[in-house]
């Protein structure tokens, strides 16, 4: 953990996000918004035999929410729905490798909330 919020890893994933774009014919498509700051993220998931075979995201958001979506989608490829459902705020913070203040928690969690809500009925 570091006090510097905008570390290279965050800025890299913000400027060059991984898995950005629509996934055609996705099994699951889930959009979440943070009305306070106007962040929107849509998560696309392909799921086969309870395993996330492909995942991507679209949307517009701050550096934290964008980097979180980028890192999370990397992390979840090949994982099971249960593994995705079991991810916590701490897990998300570990993926980001920066400390997240309460005011930015919603940004950090937006993509994970979309994944969880999108896959909640599939367990």
């Amino acid at each position: 953990m570091t006090d510097e919020l905008y570390k290279e890893v965050i800025l890299d994933h913000y400027k060059h996000p991984h898995n950005k774009g629509k996934l055609e014919n996705a099994t699951v498509k889930q959009t979440e918004q943070n009305p306070i700051c106007g962040d929107v993220v849509t998560i696309y998931l392909n799921i086969a035999d309870n395993v996330i075979t492909d995942i991507s995201f679209n949307g517009c958001g701050c550096a934290i929410s964008t980097a979180a979506a980028s890192l999370l989608t990397d992390h979840l490829k090949g994982k099971t729905i249960e593994e995705a459902q079991n991810l916590s705020r701490d897990d998300m913070v570990s993926l980001l490798t920066v400390s997240i203040s309460p005011a930015r928690t919603k940004c950090a969690m937006l993509a994970l909330v979309a994944v969880k809500n999108g896959t909640a009925g599939l367990r």
Binding site: Y6, Y14, P35, C37, G38, D39, V40, A63, R104
Partner: protein, 399 residues
């Protein structure tokens, strides 16, 4: 003008840096004398108003009524009976949107502007839904001014209510209220002004503006939270039905029916915000002593300096017209408003990020969010370079 030392909260460091408080359009800090006045009230005067015959009740009632007179004088209103204390601008506007519904029917029109804060939009959406009236909007010019040329076309014989912000909390646009009020009155419509962003920063006369109703908040003008004002002309308030019912607002009550108290108490049901009224009066006396003309000049100078500097900065887009109230909103290419505000915070600068409770306006402008620096009596031009440095860093990191 340098009033920093009047405000205890400003004497602190944030993340190790001196606090630069540029979030005054959201809420202002409180001068020592407002805190003292409220403390003094609770330590020596506190009692319920308008119902006791004991010494404290009389003193509390006098202080509370005097607060109404102080507000009335400050906005050149005729007297105490034209001043209703509410919880804030939002409640003042909700009161109107409920109590004016009996005048609305299907086909009637309520005219607003594209600039409105959620608090002067949603209450009218609800009133329109309940009555079958429709909403119409005065549009913006490309520079963010109101397109006044369409005034006669938008405000028609069908218009029953016209309501506008005085100063936009996002673009800073100063709305020509008088011109709109004249047109509204020409066709017999009621004129409402959301003055939350103007009363703290400009000399205000309800007469000169031509407002039938005018709403503002205590906490944005160096007073406490939990108190706001609804001004109404005598005719307008006399014709208006009460909004909240209960104690204090009644004259005679039987099990079957009730009659209403005289103005302004007809609109103040329940135990009112008494200490907050005392605090607001202290804030107003503070502002009156500094002089609203001088405050306006001071804030105009720092706002212009900020506007001019941001205009010259690469990758930064300033929103709204050049002539403006005491705020500057902007976007930074490639950077989200939240990240810009976080970088400002790291060097002790408090600014607002988001859509500032004006989501439709941001959609209208085609931007997801903006960052806003807004100024007050204690703001100093010497504080601006700290903001500029943070913005340069934002450009460096994100653009």
């Amino acid at each position: 003008m340098n009033r920093r030392s009047d405000f205890p909260i400003l004497n602190q460091k944030v993340h190790g840096k001196p606090l630069v408080y540029f979030d005054n359009a959201a809420t202002t800090q409180k001068p020592r004398l407002v805190l003292d006045a409220m403390n003094q009230y609770y330590e020596h005067t506190n009692a319920n108003v308008h119902r006791g015959v004991h010494a404290l009740a009389e003193a509390a009632t006098e202080a509370y009524e005097q607060a109404h007179r102080t507000v009335a004088k400050f906005i050149s209103a005729p007297g105490m009976e034209s001043i209703i204390f509410t919880r804030g601008t939002t409640e003042s506007l909700n009161l109107l949107s409920y109590s004016l519904r009996d005048r609305l029917k299907k086909g009637d029109e309520i005219v607003l502007t594209r600039l409105e804060h959620h608090s002067n939009l949603i209450p009218w959406q609800q009133a329109a839904k309940a009555t079958g009236a429709t909403l119409k909007f005065l549009e913006l010019t490309p520079t963010g001014e109101l397109d006044i040329s369409a005034l006669d076309k938008v405000i028609t014989d069908k218009t029953k209510i016209v309501t506008t912000t005085h100063v936009s909390n996002v673009l800073g646009t100063v709305v020509p209220v008088k011109q709109i009020a004249d047109r509204a009155h020409q066709i017999g419509a009621t004129m409402i002004v959301d003055a939350a962003q103007s009363v703290p920063h400009l000399p205000i006369s309800v007469k000169k503006l031509g407002a039938d109703f005018l709403a503002f908040s205590g906490h944005k003008m160096y007073g406490p939270t939990g108190i706001g004002v609804l001004f109404g002309t005598k005719d307008a308030l006399t014709a208006l039905l009460p909004f909240l019912f209960g104690g204090e607002m009644v004259h005679e009550v039987s099990y079957e029916t009730s009659t209403w108290n005289r103005l302004p108490w007809k609109f103040e049901a329940g135990t009112p915000p008494i200490a907050e009224g005392v605090g607001l009066a202290a804030a107003i006396e503070y502002l009156a002593k500094l002089g609203m003309d001088k405050i306006a000049q001071h804030e105009h100078k720092i706002t212009k300096a900020c506007y001019d500097s941001l205009k010259t900065m690469d990758k930064i887009t300033v929103l709204g017209p050049e002539e403006r109230g005491s705020l500057v909103s902007f976007t930074v290419d490639g950077a989200h408003a939240h990240d810009v505000a976080a970088l400002c915070d790291q060097v002790g600068v408090a600014v607002r990020a988001g859509h500032h409770c004006a989501m439709p306006l941001h959609l209208h402008l085609g931007i997801p969010a903006s960052t806003r620096a807004s100024f007050g009596v204690y703001s100093q031009e010497t504080e601006l370079p700290v903001l500029y440095d943070a913005l340069e860093k934002a450009v460096r990191l994100f653009s």
